[in-house]
Symmetry: C2
Subunit: 239 residues, 2 copies
């Protein structure tokens, strides 16, 4: 099975959670919009009325044979068991998915910091509001989310991973969230460092996995940038 | 199996998507925080560090035997097949879940309208920003989401429901979203009426299902109010 990933070609964004899983598994895949000219037009066409039976609302989406699957957490729910990155038991799969959805909520809130009024406006049109949003995010929501995941790690009796005895796609996603937060909020994250040692250790273990390390050192890993979900705007890295 | 639903006792909120599924199926369940004194304290305790192995980050969550499952869409993913409200095939289950996650995104954006800066602040502390957010939501995002779901309905060859040949939990959730939007944005929704006839027809069919009709007429159905996800603030019902 060769997978086709459809996502914006110039950002990590939500597509990165899928890329990391495919890379760690050594799965055969094409990052369609980065692989050939005119691929962006093809991607956008799949989202239009009338082209496919089950159109995605937004990227990322994955083609796997006849199936076209959207929503990041849903893609990973589908993909995890097929590429060896999901637990076996249903109860653990639901728990992994629950954690993935909670990470997605954190990602949404981090994105909302630079786009509090609307994603339909530029950051420059909502800078004052973004500053207010950053204050709340950094002081209230961010510590709450990180404390939650630190506690989840502390309470897993079977391993130092989030779910069960082995690495799952959720660990890779948590690595990505930690990397994104460190990029966007370096001062805030440094200040919180002592409170999430397990999260940092997990992120380091993920980064050291051979296929992930090779991926991060390759040109396939796009650099963080200010069109992405995680953005480094010094005005928003409040202390 | 008697299910226990944990959710805030005075709002419909995200718990309502689970309530509607349980009610439509005629499933045996207890709405814990509404059923007895001190139940709220018990609910909050389950979210604290150290009380359960797999703590939820936030309500709603469902207890089913030994399992404690959080995240609305995840609860419905688990519950759907068990109460006869999910399609049989894996591909259709993923499609249903994908639509549910897209509805969750719409609900998040609708909530963000009255809390653009942060959920940690009161609406009164972000009224000016909320007004700006409402302009973007009503004119850009709302028509895009509704157009998407109208198109999904138009393209299902097997029935007038969203997925496959039969009613699923996603239909019930779409009814709830339409009801919430009509409550929060009556003028905007009236203006868009002609553009989503299929959505309105679906919402009417759901409301007429015997168990749903009985539920909506009962005291178990809480009224919409201004502590909820969907709020009627005339200043935000822009035209």
């Amino acid at each position: 099975m060769k997978y086709e990933l459809y996502y914006w070609p110039s950002i990590q964004g939500r597509g990165e959670f899928v890329r990391l899983a495919l890379e760690d598994a050594g799965a055969a895949y094409v990052d369609v919009a980065r692989s050939r000219r005119k691929a962006m037009a093809a991607m956008l066409r799949l989202m239009e009325a009338g082209t496919v039976a089950r159109p995605p609302f937004a990227p990322p989406f994955l083609r796997a044979g006849d199936m076209l699957i959207a929503q990041t957490a849903n893609i990973l729910l589908f993909l995890g068991p097929r590429i060896g990155l999901a637990p076996r038991r249903e109860s653990e799969r639901l728990w992994a998915h629950q954690l993935q959805l909670t990470l997605a909520d954190l990602v949404d809130e981090a994105h909302n910091v630079h786009h509090p009024i609307s994603t339909a406006l530029y950051y420059e049109d909502q800078k004052a509001e973004a500053r207010r949003a950053a204050m709340q995010f950094v002081h209230t929501r961010l510590p709450k989310f990180l404390g939650y995941f630190e506690n989840v790690l502390a309470r897993n009796p079977r391993s130092e991973w989030l779910v069960g005895a082995r690495t799952t796609y959720v660990d890779l996603s948590l690595f990505q969230v930690m990397a994104g937060l460190a990029y966007a909020f370096p001062r805030a994250m440094a200040r919180l460092e002592g409170k999430h040692r397990r999260l940092r250790a997990l992120a380091e273990r993920v980064a050291a996995r051979p296929r992930i390390a090779a991926y991060l050192a390759s040109t396939r890993r796009l650099p963080f940038n200010e069109e992405d979900v995680f953005r480094r705007y010094p005005a928003l890295d409040v202390t």
